[in-house]
Amino acid sequence: MKAFSRLLDRLTLTPQRNAKLRLMVDYFAETPDPDRGYALAALTGTLEIRHVKPALLRDLVLERMDDTLFRYSYDYVGDLAETISLVWESPEDGEIYEPSLSDVIGELNGVGRSDVHTHVRSLLDRLDTSGRYAFIKLATGGLRIGVSARLAKQALALMGDVDVTEIETLWHGLDVPYESLFAWLDGKGDKPELTTPAVFHSVMLAHPVAESDLEKLDPADYLAEWKWDGIRVQLSSDGAHRKLYSRSGDDISGSFPDILEAVDFEGVVDGELLIGGTARTNSPTLTFSDLQQRLNRKTVTKKHLSDYPAFIRAYDLLFFKDRDIRKAPLDDRRARLFDLVEKAARDRFDLSPLVEFDSWEHLDRLRKNPHDPVIEGVMMKRRDSAYQAGRVKGPWFKWKRDPHIIDAVMMYAQRGHGKRSSYYSDFTFGVWTGDQGAEMLVPVGKAYFGFTDAELEILDRFVRNNTVERFGPVRAVRAEPETGFVLEVAFEGIARSKRHKSGVAMRFPRISRLRQDKLPAEADRLDTLTAMIDARS
């Protein structure tokens, strides 16, 4: 348990992706089975562990501690798991044997309901502070460490020097604690055989298209489709087993029972998950912020299902029944997909329509003026392309609509992490609101990339020389109509938000240019942003 809890402690405080990978690779390489397998399950969200209620933990602490002192402690720390891990005092004559991660999981999952109290107390006694924290987070279901399942799989790929798509393909056919997988990655066993049906197949990704690419491409070789603003999914069904995966292979079936119940075919479909009605039912497609209402939910209420109905706009077929057709040309795959969608439930599946065009200029015009606000550009796919995992340049391209651009004023700056820890590199920016003569800035977003290293020097110098107030690691900078720093901010989309003071939330904002030539008074107004939302709906 010590190695695992140390790993969690480091991962939570390590911002860089590569450093996180290194920490995980080291852990997997040094930790024996089955502990590393359980750790992998904890990191990827596949671990099954008995749930312990916070109230039970609180009762256990108060058996040994004055409740006033506990209250002072909890008020100070603010996190129940952390408070308990810190205030807990193990009996001095207690066992010094430290349980492993698999011991902890085995013990907790093995006891009867009436013995949970005793076992949790005894586990807390035997673990050290970090171990208690990790244990409580696992058992209360609150483990958040900033590591995605995809990143954990990347670490496995690095460790075994294999391609991550191989691991993604195997993933759903494997069981905790993944001993066969680790044996293979260690070079001590064969690659595990795929036995379970409805597994995930790594998806084919598109390259962004550049002007120079177009000159070399013949429009006749390509078909075009709208690029819809939902999430990429893969639906895998062998009739009995049905699974819905995200593009990185996370199983998201639990969040979308409406789609899974409607599946009455066999095959593996690639498509966009969207909210609203299908084209076949003549209903409009809803926006990404509607889709967010349905993502990452453990339980789905009836209201969610009726207010935000989900469907799949299909664009490719990987398996026709149980036959792998990924090597067949796209035109053939689409023809089979057409037949499949035709017979599938009308309200849950439709076919991604083709965009007719005769030249790249024509397609460019269509791309810039889509007929539906949920379209964010076009996809171009070679008609004869096979379905290949990963991002291969040539067969598939994406051509996005140009980003939205506004001029905003820098309001706050925060130091970055790692290499950037001595630079103010995270910026909160705002736009003007209020009546003439009483204008004020309201923050509308935060961005920490988009600029070059040389531009970062300029931004950092401005922050240091124009700080008006400090709040811990954050500095407020001068932002007045005549003095301040104007940032050109590019973003992909904008939606209404109740959580933000300004009432708007941007998607994927980044700093596209420094506008030292402009005065803050010339920056945009909040009305401009709200008009962008209204224009879309």
Binding site: M65, D66, Y76, E89, T129, H417
Partner: protein
């Protein structure tokens, strides 16, 4: 004599009326007794200062030759008379030269412990419990959450990280007096024998520690010299915690920021400061040490100077020991 008649809080600090002196005053006064060299306890400009030899030396290093009107050295465990009040300095185990001060008159003995700790520190003399009627203690880490781990295990975390990331500079934030030298001494104790780079702000105090027979091994200045840039790969650099945010930190290769402080026990504290490698090494007592010390000393009464006094007062109440907070201002709660 009543305790309050012997010693009482004033805006300047704790005042002994019969002896006409202050302990660790926060404003300039005629006569000051100083427990240790940290700047919130030892300020410059007092008329007369009584402190241990090492504390006086440290004040001179920090404030210059004219840090006070006249100085007097207090030898540890030797009784002195200050205007009819008996005063004795005893080791506090906080930093080099740190002392508790026992103040006694007419059968009433009060111990002002200053800042102190009980865990092992190769750079200073360990704390000695002194029986007394009133024990005056700080409560910087006076909450049951503060169970500081073994500092040796914390140094182990740093050594492990140096192994995992051999190409990255490890920037260790540590306060210039005491913590920095303790971290270096702990690394040496664990057999770390590469040169350790230090920020300019630490140089004089490290030299002084060495002159007092605290072996810190080979220390090199962390200068900007371009040719030295590669030397910082995988090196340990000790610096004041505030320098992470300075332009100074830019000279290092892909640094990992570590911070040696008792506060690093709380995850959110580490996160707020952008610390990637928290090292829980404290120069103050943690909760078990604090409560054990009160049991060891066995005072008739406990007064709490600064920190999280409400929890300690509550604990004393549960133990049946009279206790009260003094609400002294001017001492840093955050420094460790």
């Amino acid at each position: 004599m009543k305790a309050e008649a012997l010693l009482s809080p004033r805006p300047e600090g704790l005042y002994c009326a019969p002896g006409d002196f202050y302990v660790d005053p926060v404003r300039t006064v005629e006569r000051a007794l100083i427990t240790h060299g940290h700047s919130d306890h030892a300020r410059s400009g007092h008329q007369a200062v009584l402190a241990t030899r090492q504390t006086l030396d440290i004040m001179r290093i920090r404030y210059g030759e004219d840090f006070c009107g006249q100085e007097q050295t207090a030898d540890l465990r030797k009784t002195l008379d200050v205007n009819g009040v008996t005063v004795t300095f005893h080791p506090a185990g906080h930093v080099l030269g740190s002392a508790q001060i026992a103040i006694e008159k007419d059968g009433m003995r009060i111990v002002v412990s200053g800042d102190y700790k009980r865990s092992v520190d190769p750079t200073c003399e360990p704390f000695e419990p002194v029986p007394c009627d009133v024990f005056i203690t700080e409560a910087t880490f006076g909450l049951p959450v503060f169970h500081h781990p073994d500092p040796e295990a914390e140094i182990g975390k740093l050594l492990k990280s140096l192994e995992t990331f051999p190409e990255r500079s490890h920037l260790v934030g540590a306060y210039a007096l005491g913590k920095a030298q303790r971290v270096i001494a702990l690394l040496r104790k664990h057999g770390y024998d590469r040169p350790i780079y230090i920020h300019g702000a630490l140089a004089k105090l490290c030299d002084y520690y060495e002159s007092q027979d605290v072996d810190l091994g080979e220390l090199l200045p962390a200068t900007v010299d371009k040719s030295a840039r590669d030397d910082y790969r995988g090196a340990v650099i000790v610096c004041p915690p505030s320098s992470f945010a300075d332009r100074w930190a830019r000279r290092f290769a892909d640094p990992i920021s570590a911070f040696a402080s008792g506060w690093m026990l709380i995850r959110q504290r580490a996160r707020q400061r952008g610390v990637e490698l928290p090292l829980v090494i404290s120069d103050h007592v943690d909760w078990p040490e604090l409560t054990d010390t009160i049991r060891d000393v066995g005072p008739g009464e406990v007064w709490v100077t600064h920190g999280r006094e409400e929890a300690l007062v509550r604990w004393c109440e549960l133990e049946g020991i009279p206790a009260r907070p003094l609400h002294l201002v001017g001492y840093e709660d955050e420094g460790d």
